[in-house]
Symmetry: C2
Subunit: 421 residues, 2 copies
């Protein structure tokens, strides 16, 4: 008898997380003898806890295929992290209650480090609480900070956005620099690891190309060195384009700019870095500046997604289902690189207990000695990830993204569940 599958999206969404959803759903649809329906959690794991399930079988093949071109989380995402079995057993018991009511035997969780931890715990429900379920983690994070995978689906597209954007802005500021703006700063998302900022370095093929300065969270911010590097670029090339990671830190370990609020995972919410750096440049070097803050635009930018990233995002979704059908559980699908050039990759697996809550930072030898650019080694790593364009369809000048019906699965339980904050 086929059992049903549960799929959910977790954490910050990306331009291509829906491509993984497409991979999961399309692959599951090919195995009706083994997998019944794919139920998606409305707003991530919250949908499971509150028995708010979406019946993806109500979506046409065309709608599911259109997920390939649609950024964001088509079923809704959330930042709710399940705590340990000891701390909040009620949540796991509730999951089992819902899963049992809907005969769910497969759990596909699409997210980053926090959700890998949740997925690991779900994979242990059989041993710990007597409800066997196969749990496979489908990696997704624009931050590229998951361990044991060569790269993370979602990252390549953000990387491409950063490289394209700083190349374009660099051309712009170069042409204005004689009498106007000389320094341009692009602030990019990336809380703890500098991958997204590093990708800006791919725009610089020739000496003097933008960006001349990259600020990584891995390198403690040094005001004097920073101003020296900016001034040197302006003197040598007439302008300076900077990519700055929001996660830039002071020697004290504090973020250079703290908004003072915390998100639901207890992380500090950042944002005000670029104006701070810009003011420094203006006050100390007296150069006219402009700055942009990419924020959600970069992770939602399906219009300039990396084709490589799109293909990998599909592959991890497809592979997750195939692994489940092969009896696997407690693993994350990985991307394994066979060669840089030509770029050859396959999918693989990593045990979730080695993945959860481990952050992969930039290796020091990916950053130049002065701390302001990427090395050739880093370029060899990053370059394949942004290769290829995969444009969405357009009508009336704007991309045509799908909004699914997201029809609810009728509830079977009488009980409600209140989420702990």
């Amino acid at each position: 008898m086929p059992r049903n599958a549960f799929y959910a999206q977790s954490g910050g969404v990306t331009a291509v997380i829906n491509v993984s959803a497409q991979g999961v759903i399309e692959t599951a649809r090919k195995h009706p003898d083994r997998i019944g329906k794919v139920y998606a959690g409305r707003n991530g794991i919250i949908g499971a806890l509150t028995e708010d399930l979406i019946d993806t079988s109500r979506e046409s093949d065309a709608a599911i295929a259109a997920l390939r071109y649609t950024p964001s989380g088509a079923f809704g995402s959330c930042r709710h992290k399940l705590k340990g079995f000891d701390t909040n057993l009620a949540e796991y018991e509730r999951l089992i209650e819902v899963f049992r009511a809907h005969d769910i035997g497969y759990f596909f969780y699409n997210g980053g480090g926090d959700s890998a931890d949740t997925c690991l715990k779900v994979s242990q429900l059989g041993d710990k609480l007597g409800y066997p379920i196969q749990a496979i983690h489908v990696p997704k994070t624009m931050d590229n900070d998951l361990p044991l995978t060569d790269c993370c689906p979602g990252f390549g597209s953000v990387a491409k956005y950063t490289a394209v954007s700083i190349r374009e802005a660099g051309y712009d500021v170069r042409s204005m620099a004689k009498t106007s703006t000389k320094v341009f700063i692009l602030e990019v998302l990336g809380r703890h690891a500098g991958w997204t900022a590093a990708a800006g370095g791919l725009a610089a093929d020739q000496p003097g190309d933008a960006p001349q300065v990259i600020l990584f969270p891995e390198i403690v911010f040094d005001e004097t060195k920073f101003l020296g590097a900016v001034d040197a670029a302006v003197k040598a090339h007439g302008f300076c384009a900077i990519v700055a990671s929001e996660g830039l830190r002071l020697p004290s370990g504090e973020f250079l700019s703290e908004a003072g609020t915390k998100d639901a995972f207890g992380h500090a919410q950042l944002g005000g870095l670029a104006p701070l750096l810009a003011k420094l440049v203006g006050d100390k070097l007296k150069y006219k500046y402009h700055y942009a803050i990419a924020d959600y635009l970069m992770r939602a930018a399906r219009h300039i997604a990396s084709k490589t990233d799109v293909e990998q995002s599909y592959a991890v979704g497809k592979s997750a289902v195939e692994l489940a059908l092969a009896g696997k559980s407690g693993v994350m699908v990985t991307i394994e690189r066979q060669s840089d050039s030509p770029y050859v990759w396959t999918t693989g697996t990593a045990p979730l207990d080695k993945v959860a809550n481990v952050e992969k930072k930039m290796p020091r030898d990916y950053i130049t000695d002065d701390g302001f650019h990427i090395t050739d080694k880093c370029r060899r790593y990053l370059s394949p990830l942004i290769q290829g364009e995969d444009y969405p369809p357009y009508a009336n000048g704007v991309p045509q993204y799908v909004t699914l019906k997201n029809a609810a699965v009728p509830r079977k339980l009488k009980t409600a569940f209140e989420l702990k904050k």
Copy 2:
């Protein structure tokens, strides 16, 4: 005997100003009997004043053709505005000295309102100072605020960027809104006119689509109404996406957020609006927010340029040369709309004395009564301008933009010229 032409780029550059340069140069090259060489001003009009001319005949046909795909000002731009004849006669006398030395009989000036004024004055050099020259203005401004033309080359691409970006970010925030970010603000360039913000409205096809709130400089900011509109959108749709023009003003006429510095034309330099609005939303409505500041990214975004805009940018450059050959002077090339749907347009002309220093604001009936969205009339006007995609070529995942040789024309004058600030 053919005489030489001078071409210069002025003011803030765009994703497509180089397409107009391409139009000027390619058209001039077809008339060697009438036009000798096209000399470009290095860094705009400053290149003329300082006799720093670029010999565009040294560029291959392929390099000139590649201008079609290259954002920014390929010859450099500037924000130097020529004052009146009475105020600074020396600048005009210097222009004549340089033009005479290089046998320049045609003047093509590619810019916005400020440069239309300069172009007008150059067209008067014959009458006022005895140096006859044909001066044609090639319109360019992402602000879309030039009068007497249906639209301004450069605007359509910014408009498309805004519509695409807020659609993508709207999808993103909608999927996060259950437990995380509910309000997203995109700050766009646009000092005095709301055209660039209005274009965001094209992303909203259906009720509830992003953006639900647009903030125009033409509508005085009212905090209570703004917060009411945001709260209503969150309550109705779960999230609110906002496009905010940097030029938003208080009832006093002051910009909502002033950086306190001035640019070379004496305009206030703006920038800090989005965080201010975001804080208001956070403090008063207690919704989690994110914001992006597009800044130069939007005007440099050749990767998502409007095909219509690219075609119009070429046409105004080509037409400028044809008008000069037909004996015209003191005019700006215009875009004239024949019909909205199907969209049919031609080029025309407007006398420069009616263009210079006039700003075209959004008509009130392009903005809904509540002040927060665009009307159907506005949509009919804007929609054709963002139609079509015109992707640049890519290699290694990044767009391939041309950097010209920009070889200097040998100087003929012994005299130097010092620019007045």
